[in-house]
């Protein structure tokens, strides 16, 4: 089974918490469906982050269960029915928390990588 799991790995590994951050951030710019979220992340990361569906949809459903996002079926641009997700109030708060955590983490790593002065 481990051999099959490898097929679904991204080119760059995304930790679960980081994926949550990306999703929440993407939804900051407006409600979006699952396909749209994956496209958005891919585009904005310059084709580097290709979130596979096996991680995306579980993450979406988990975030929905934690009440950080809420879902609604609507018509998309192409007149197709799709399940649109959007941030809730608690989701917004969670997003800012995640952003500051990420900033702290990246500062910390940058500090370690800094050449000795």
């Amino acid at each position: 089974m481990t051999e099959k799991k490898a097929r679904y790995q991204n080119r760059i590994e995304l930790l679960q918490g980081t994926l949550d951050l990306l999703i929440l951030q993407t939804l900051q710019w407006g409600a979006q469906h699952g396909y749209g979220i994956s496209v958005a992340i891919r585009n904005r990361s310059g084709e580097l982050l290709q979130v596979d569906t096996g991680s995306l949809y579980p993450a979406l459903h988990r975030l929905e269960r934690q009440k950080w996002i809420k879902a609604e079926w609507r018509m998309s641009e192409n007149k197709q029915r799709a399940k649109f997700y959007q941030l809730t109030a608690t989701g917004k708060k969670q997003l800012s928390k995640e952003r500051s955590k990420w900033a702290q983490l990246s500062d910390a790593i940058a500090g370690v990588l800094q050449p000795e002065d």
């Binding site: 396909y35 569906t53 991680s55 998309s76």
Partner: protein, 876 residues
């Protein structure tokens, strides 16, 4: 997660995935791909739809919970497709688990804390053992002796009891009431609070005064006599014309002394009246220490009242349950062993069935493995199925156990287990059987599960589903399982055969008397009535005359203590002119002359005394053949003299003729009749006229033309006409009934019936197991048979081939079974009379097994041999 929400969520998830795919395809088409390519590319990029959905579902609820539900549903569907397999498996388990649970309930109820009394493990009685180490009787002590005993260091609390039969005179005929007298501190001693009202209190029997007229009712008596009247407290009950105030009712499990009514007891100081001591030891005292301490005390008591003790005795304390454990403990353990065998056979069946199914489903499992199921998932799936089978089997088993427990309790010898015991399915037993089910499910599900979960994919996928003949490994396992089943079945059958033969022998034993159409009516004489020898003699005589004069009565006689097959007081006797052996013991019987006529016991030599000799209390004796043979080998019994030194009067209870302990003349020899139970050899017996010794109790033997119990009421009326207060004892039985209530009869009956039942079940299970294996093998080899028949084999050849395949396991099983039976012979022989080494029984059992096995093989073999080769070859 309920069903509708789950369904809705599934549909929604599916829609979401579909919409993702559509949008991805659409985007590609906008960029210029053709629709087919766009869809394919979108799908490829999405990945494995099933797995994505699976991962998403993981988020909804604990994965394992959902999987278990899925497994259970799937398992149910698979079992429903093969109902025959499921039914056989469930039944096999149910029989094994049911029987084991039932036996375990009985053992638990009887052995493990059957008493409701406080600290019942520290409650003891005093028992006397004679010089040979035989248990003689419970030691009874006088009032002053009891007071001394109470002061002993090891004693925490003590009480005393006596019992007698009184009457209620509320009906037209006096009715017997078994009364237990308890000292006023007894209810504190027992520590069981009353159900209604209160128990006896110290104020009910104050020092130096007569006890109050209060009574506490037994539960069963309260139900039976007063219909469970809840307002019974404060009413009165009349016992022998004395009115007692009812102050309480005890709980159902409080059956101390099997008393119907409990009255307060006052200990008197006189040396003739004895009481039964009940003692609770202090915690932490060892039996050895207590025995040592009491021994000197009791020896002193023996000097004070030598007639109450055997000569040269040893005393020991005995716990409440010790007697029962030795009595019935072994038998119950043996039955538990038998039942465990049955369970093993049942589990063997289930194992065979699961193994066979595992092999048949290898194709299915291989496919599932190929599309992504983990090995552990497959194991869990198979395990869930076998656990479902086990639990279904356990549920059915518990229902079976319920009925079986009732049956066993009915057959248990009444005297061999405490009446306080409640034998039923209880929580501990429930846990036991559920645990058993889990264990069998895991043990017998896991092996085929492990085997089937790692199939060699390539090989299995290429081979056809049905034509794979089962691998060598599984065939060997089948052989071992079948052989094991047959061996155990043989053991059970042999045990059953021995038990049944022993029981039948006992049923047909030569009694030496004729029990048919005779009943023994007990006459408990009231305290302080007929207190002189003359009065009591006249009373008994009058009773006998009245009953004997009844038209339906063929003959009647007095048998004070002589009702067979276990009768007489065990006493030491002396023969004049002969040196006395160390312990010359015999049974001393007190009867009227008609006794021998009523029981059809022949007079072999000499004569029986006549009525006037009896009324004068002449010291004449009859002896039985055994005594004559053992002590008068020269045939000079008639005219010799014997005496029983311990035969002394103890007025007002035991009234005896003057000089009852002096020499009696032997005037005749009667035929041997069973006097020490149905199995033991006949003991030497002495018969003297009933006027020699008259206790406060006697029995009248009544012979009628048919069904003596039908005229019981008329007999009681006759008794009533002599003394209006005199009741007959409660359980009047006919002598056939006396025999069936002998402990060895009941025990033999219990063991024989249960063993036979278990053996038959085991045979059925083993036959089913064999049938399943052969059936399965035949279906696997259908292709092979087709080829053989196409190449010229005849149907009979195919038949023989099938039989040959079974031959090895059956012969192996029979041989193993015979070896097992012979090895365990000693264990069997301890608790079943008779030896299992009897060639006839073994031969019969082997024949039965082989015949049954042949039949089990025959049916699938016939199926195989009647195959149309063309059909068989194409069989998939």
């Amino acid at each position: 997660m309920n069903f509708w929400r789950r369904k809705k969520r599934e549909e929604e998830l599916d829609a979401e995935v579909q919409s993702h795919l559509q949008m991805a395809a659409r985007e590609r088409m906008d960029r210029g791909d053709r629709s087919n390519d766009a869809e394919r590319a979108a799908r490829r990029e999405f990945g494995n739809v099933g797995l994505v959905k699976e991962f998403t579902r993981d988020v909804w609820v604990w994965r394992w919970l959902r999987d278990v539900a899925d497994d259970a549903r799937y398992g149910l569907r698979m079992l429903a497709k093969n109902p025959g397999f499921a039914i056989v498996a469930i039944l096999s388990l149910a029989l094994g688990i049911g029987a084991t649970t039932a036996m375990f309930s009985v053992i638990y109820g009887v052995m493990v804390n059957p008493y409701p009394y406080a600290n019942s493990d520290r409650m003891v009685h005093l028992v006397a053992y004679d010089a040979h180490g035989n248990r003689r009787f419970f030691i009874n002590l006088t009032g002053p002796q009891l007071q001394q005993l109470r002061q002993a260091a090891s004693v925490e609390s003590s009480a005393a009891m006596d019992e007698w039969q009184l009457t209620t005179t509320e009906g037209d005929l006096p009715e017997n009431v078994d009364v237990v007298y308890l000292t006023a501190n007894s209810f504190v001693h027992f520590g069981v609070p009353a159900l209604l009202g209160r128990g006896l209190l110290p104020s009910d029997a104050p020092e130096g005064q007569d006890p109050e007229n209060v009574a506490v009712l037994g539960y069963e008596f309260w139900q039976r006599h007063y219909g469970g009247d809840p307002d019974i407290i404060g009413k009165n009950i009349q016992l022998v014309h004395k009115s007692y105030l009812i102050v309480g009712v005890v709980r159902p499990r409080f059956t101390w002394g099997d008393g119907e009514v409990y009255l307060p007891l006052k200990l008197t100081a006189d040396l003739v009246r004895t009481y039964f001591p009940m003692i609770r030891l202090k915690p932490g005292v060892t039996r050895a220490a207590v025995n040592a301490e009491f021994q000197s005390l009791v020896e002193q008591f023996a000097k004070e009242t030598p007639t109450h003790f055997p000569e040269h005795f040893r005393m020991a304390v005995e716990g409440l349950n010790d007697h029962f454990v030795t009595d019935i403990g072994g038998t119950l353990s043996l039955l538990l062993g038998a039942v465990a065998l049955l369970l093993l056979i049942g589990c063997g069946n289930v194992s065979i069935l699961l193994l066979a199914r595992g092999t048949a489903r290898q194709h299915e499992l291989a496919v599932r493995s190929a599309i992504g199921a983990e090995g552990s998932r497959l194991v869990r799936q198979l395990l869930t199925e076998s656990l479902m089978l086990s639990f279904a089997g356990a549920l059915l088993g518990i229902a079976l156990a319920n009925s079986l427990v009732k049956l066993i309790v009915n057959w248990l010898p009444r005297s061999s287990f405490p009446h306080e015991a409640t034998i039923s399915i209880n929580l501990a037993v429930l846990f036991f059987s559920v645990g058993l089910a889990l264990l069998t499910g895991i043990v017998f599900g896991i092996s085929p599960a492990l085997q089937s979960a790692r199939p060699d994919l390539a090989q299995v996928m290429q081979a056809n589903t049905r034509k794979t003949t089962a691998g060598v490994h599984s065939r060997r396992t089948h052989t071992i399982l079948i052989a094991g089943q047959i061996a155990l079945t043989l053991l059970l059958l042999a045990g059953a055969g021995v038990a049944m033969r022993g029981f039948v022998r006992m049923m047909n034993v030569n009694l030496g008397y004729d029990p048919h159409n005779v009943m023994a009516v007990g006459i408990p004489v009231h305290d302080n009535t007929y207190t002189t020898w003359e009065a009591r003699r006249a009373y008994f005589h009058q009773l006998l005359q009245k009953v004997g004069a009844m038209p339906e009565v063929v003959s009647a006689g007095i048998s004070t203590n002589a009702t067979p097959p276990n009768n007489g007081w065990e006493q030491r006797f002396e023969i004049s002119g002969k040196p006395m052996a160390e312990q010359q013991m015999g049974r001393f019987n007190v009867v009227s002359a008609e006794y021998f006529t009523v029981l059809h016991i022949p007079l072999l030599q000499g004569r029986i005394w006549d009525e006037s000799e009896a009324m004068h209390g002449s010291k004449l004796a009859l002896i039985n053949q055994t005594l004559a043979r053992q002590y008068f080998p020269n045939g000079d019994a008639l005219g010799s003299e014997l005496r029983v030194p311990a035969l002394k009067a103890e007025p007002p209870f035991n009234l005896a003729v003057a000089g009852s302990d002096s020499w009696f003349q032997i005037i005749g020899i009667v035929g041997d009749a069973r006097d020490d139970g149905l199995r033991n050899p006949i003991k030497p017996s002495i018969f003297v006229p009933f006027t020699i010794m008259m206790p406060q109790y006697t029995q009248i033997l009544v012979r009628t033309t048919a069904s003596p119990l039908r005229i019981l009421r008329a007999v009681r009326e006759q008794i009533h006409s002599v003394d209006p207060d005199q009741q007959a004892a409660r359980n009047v039985r006919d002598l056939d009934g006396w025999i069936t209530t002998q402990p060895e009869w009941e025990q033999g009956h219990l063991v024989a019936s249960l063993f036979a039942g278990f053996a038959i079940l085991a045979l059925a299970l083993a036959a089913t197991g064999l049938y399943s294996v052969i059936s399965f093998a035949v279906s696997q080899r259908t292709g092979e048979f087709g080829i053989r028949m196409a190449l010229g084999a005849r149907p009979n050849d195919v038949l023989l081939m099938v039989f040959r395949s079974a031959a090895m396991s059956v012969t192996g099983g029979v041989l193993a079974g015979v070896v097992l039976t012979i090895t365990l012979n000693r264990v069997l022989a301890r608790w079943i009379q008779g030896s299992s080494l009897d060639a006839m029984i073994l031969a019969g059992v082997i024949l039965l097994l082989v015949a049954t096995s042949a039949l089990s093989c025959f049916i699938p073999a016939r199926r195989a041999s009647s195959l149309d080769p063309t059909v068989a070859l194409r069989y998939e």
